[in-house]
Symmetry: D2
Subunit: 345 residues, 4 copies
């Protein structure tokens, strides 16, 4: 009855693209009209992704330039940075939900600093909305470009923004320790991502210079009304999915007061959940779902608190939040297609 | 509008019970009315299962005897064998979908042999339907007791029955090698199930006497019209979910002929999928979904073929098939609530 | 020729005890004379630990009180806290290498605060040496009681002490994020340690009150000459072995100066290794070995640095360091029996 | 005092080569004189293998042609097939221990069939000894070329040869199901070996045509005195190391008689262990060690038995057995350098 919303997914051969297709498959309003993946053009989705074997009617992969944009209502960009903005800047018509880093930073110069090259489409930056859904609903409803946050920034900002907005924490010594599953590294062929290199092991990476830092700082600074610089150390954990951030903040507030700030902000949120006092967030609580769980704890060092948040990096940290933003951009109930409960064990 | 179907889940503190609740939560016709778990009565589901923290409206756990059966339309039994039949034999009113072994074997004496005690409710056995859905639709539509198959039998029978029915394979030398994720061992406290005992390792168990053997033999014998005895060796694999069976069968048929038998049987099945020639089934293809993928290969030994099938042991191997059977028993479309695509990675 | 040193291991049924036996088996001077495990007394080691099946000559497990202490030269205590001191205080004759927490804290009152009960043998505390080998060689050579540090304290202190000793870092805002494999939780039967609860997941625990905190603070305070209080958040990672600590410190020194401090302290150490500039420590570098790898990085926040250290929690973090201390106590070369290179993958 | 035996390792950048270096590092008679890896020539071992960071004195990697063979006593070939024989056929002087497939098959035509090309050095085949140590000691002591068996063949043959030699089992219906850790797939960059593709999953591969089949058949045929053809299905298991084979054999003998055959053959073996009756072999029993554990069980199908064997694929299945053969070729005690007990957990 209701006309379906026809989507294209650019970069359907990456983990993010595949998870978007997974969610789109059961979204009641979406019709998957086109799937691109230049290096694997000509193959079926089931050839590239054996778990789609039961879905033979998915469109085969094509090169991005083969897509007929007429009749496409929305495009999800799941390409690497730079490639994404370059391609999307040429697409006219569909609303854009981009999962790359290209439209996240307001400042093209900052982009150039962190991503090693001039921004391919700076003219589009002013119109893009940083799509941390819970903090951008009204803007998302009216934009044609949603820039979905990185996975780490999603967890970090959901955990810190209520406290920053309420002026409850210091902004000059925020320390973030982050843990991520290996799907965050993508499906590219690197020795470091082979099973035997990662399994039974843990290590930090991108120490002091991970590319998710500037967008975290941008959003914290915006809310704090002053420049924020963070310590951020991500680690690779031997699991497929999941992301957990442990953040030490300086505060004069009690845990009760901090909890109150979270309750005030998230009490009605469908996907962000403050856990009962003392319950530690864990990635197993959110696996495969669009939920974020968080909590705050007293630190042994006086004047500090520990904020912890967990998400599934591919869902709330990527494709799920993209669908959530899509829903808002098309006037649908925000939870449409995202109802699945976490998969445990 | 449509009146919901109110269900009770007995044994909601086990992995099977939890996965049933997960599926029921998004089933459009189900209302979860009662959840029992004697040892954890009084706790909320989120206390027992942190991944249900976002679902505070789930009923709290009660003792089975506290359930008010008036107004319950269906009961899912997720209890250990013997306990299940004992309890369910006293429940009057709701239709029964049992996930234990108690109603699977037609013969109470065989049950006593394998399960170490007299059957607690032999009078119910004749009315129970062995609920391998694809082979029992008509009976399921009319029964009040569905005995859901074990996880291994589900994978084995989906792989062998088309060939047995077509008379294409010998029945006296069927060799089954089976691999299962650790959730199949349940949430009970055994040293052997601790992470460090299982991770980075693999081992067989129940060699020559696993309790899923008699139900496999019962169903094969029934279809073959002659007694079938099998070799069956299960192994524990360091993964949460998933089950894969590798079966060596004696046959005079070619792979093409065997494939044809599968196509004929499963071409229209929503959850059973013959993979393209040469593609090996893998548990990652079905994780978190109700799908079964299978295929058949030539063996190097002449006169033999290799049949391989993979399922998610907790979904098609347990709670998903239970929902599938429930759908049939209540006249709903069989795929209702089971539409989620596999979660990969 | 050379008379063997006869040892007893108390608590040989835990992971720590088993790893001590593993190392002792190939130690050229050790003869394993007695193994205790009260709950499993009467069983062979191979029954309790199948990986010792190839070593049928290991003594069977007995109750601790059955051990004939005459002729035992050294006893390794691998018991839980409190039980350890209680038992060891009654053992006369052998030198004691204790792996529990009982002899680590100098102050019996602090012990009572953190371990929930009066110290069972406070009279022994003054004579015990805190056995972080690299910092206690002379004392270890002369003591009869070595208190082996906890696993986290070992990694933390190896990473921080050179900087504290050199006065290079601030001591009031040390932030420690710690990651551990599951063997650190022991072989006790808890739901939280079952494979499906831990695999494919990560979570923090003991937030703000982990029992390794007071011994870290004791040793840091001792070297700093002033009370140190730390932020410390441990996390459970789905791997068997390995521990990695990521520490944010306040410093006016450059990375080069900090590296120099490490070089000065560890250049000749057989088991502690500063990695080349920019190389991140990883647990896979030390698995199964007594090595510690560490490094220091600039932080994005000015005035901060990031120190990272990795060990195998069961070896350098426990049984390996115990052997290392044993070697010193018996005048043997410190690396005896600890030469095995890391096992990767 | 004793002059060291100087070795070269060709292909030190693969998992097999690295594990050989690990073992050689603590071998009391070996001096590692040269390490080659063409694609990574010029790098240090620690750059290629971070776990060798504590061993800065290891020779840097060179191209194979740069090695000065004068003064090298033994060369370990850890190269891919074809490349190995091609290179080794030009090496004059050192004894050769080859871990590739190139010298395993007696018949160059069979080699061509299975390995897709003419044998590069057929003249060397007659002099090569198939180095399943326990069955080739005398020949190994006199040969200059040891062809180390593949990992699967090692486990399979140790489990079957005593029964074949004793004429206790039928040879025309041997069914082998095999499970391997991912290190067996090597360090080459394939999507299929990325962590997220393998973790939390299991699948078969090489169904009916795995290249380890002909050498198993060759050795079984040799001992049986008649051609043997096998069913063999390997599976990839999400673990780093370990290999377990489950073999269904036809036999008129009782389990007791089969056990007796194993006892007779292996009672004095340092590395091959028949487990007590009823104890299932597990890869965790042998991790990191050169041991093989095995056992035999009654099958439910009359006239069949189940033989199960487990090894560490990189040690007894590869580098450990290579060292064991090396020891024999140089007149050293066979267990030299292989004494390490299994690493569990």
């Amino acid at each position: 009855m209701t006309k379906p919303i026809r989507i294209a997914v650019l970069g359907a051969s990456g983990y993010t693209g595949a998870d978007l297709v997974r969610l789109a498959l059961t979204h009641p309003r979406i019709e998957i009209a086109a799937l691109s993946a230049n290096a694997k053009a000509g193959q079926t989705m089931a050839q590239v992704w054996p778990h789609f074997a039961p879905y033979p009617r998915l469109p085969a992969l094509v090169r991005a330039e083969e897509i007929d944009w007429a009749g496409i209502d929305a495009v999800f960009g799941c390409l690497p940075h730079a490639a994404s903005a370059e391609l999307l800047s040429q697409v006219k018509g569909p609303k854009i939900i981009d999962l790359s880093a290209d439209f996240r930073l307001k400042d093209a110069a900052t982009y150039a600093d962190w991503y090693g090259g001039a921004h391919p489409a700076p003219a589009l930056l002013p119109g893009a909305v940083y799509g941390l859904t819970e903090y951008a609903r009204m803007a998302l409803a009216e934009t044609t470009i949603a820039a979905c946050p990185g996975c780490y920034p999603t967890a970090v900002l959901l955990g810190l923004l209520p406290l920053v907005e309420a002026g409850l924490i210091g902004i000059d010594r925020i320390t973030i320790n982050a843990l991520s599953g290996v799907s965050g590294a993508g499906r590219s062929l690197k020795e470091a991502n082979l099973f035997p290199e990662v399994a039974e092991a843990v290590h930090p990476y991108g120490i002091g210079h991970h590319r998710h830092m500037p967008e975290i700082e941008q959003e914290l600074s915006l809310r704090a009304g002053a420049p924020v610089i963070i310590s951020f150390t991500p680690h690779l954990v031997p699991m497929n999915r999941g992301e957990l951030v442990t953040m030490i903040v300086e505060t004069k507030a009690s845990v009760a007061e901090l909890r109150e700030a979270f309750v005030g902000r998230y009490i009605d949120e469908p996907f962000v959940h403050l856990l009962p006092e003392g319950v530690a967030p864990a990635t197993r609580m959110v696996r495969g779902s669009n939920h974020c769980v968080l909590n705050v704890f007293a630190d042994r060092v006086p004047g500090r608190a520990i904020v912890i948040a967990a998400i599934d990096n591919l869902v709330k940290g990527s494709s799920g939040q993209a669908i959530q933003n899509f829903n808002l951009m098309f006037g649908l109930p925000e939870t449409t297609g995202l109802e699945a409960a976490p998969l445990f064990p």
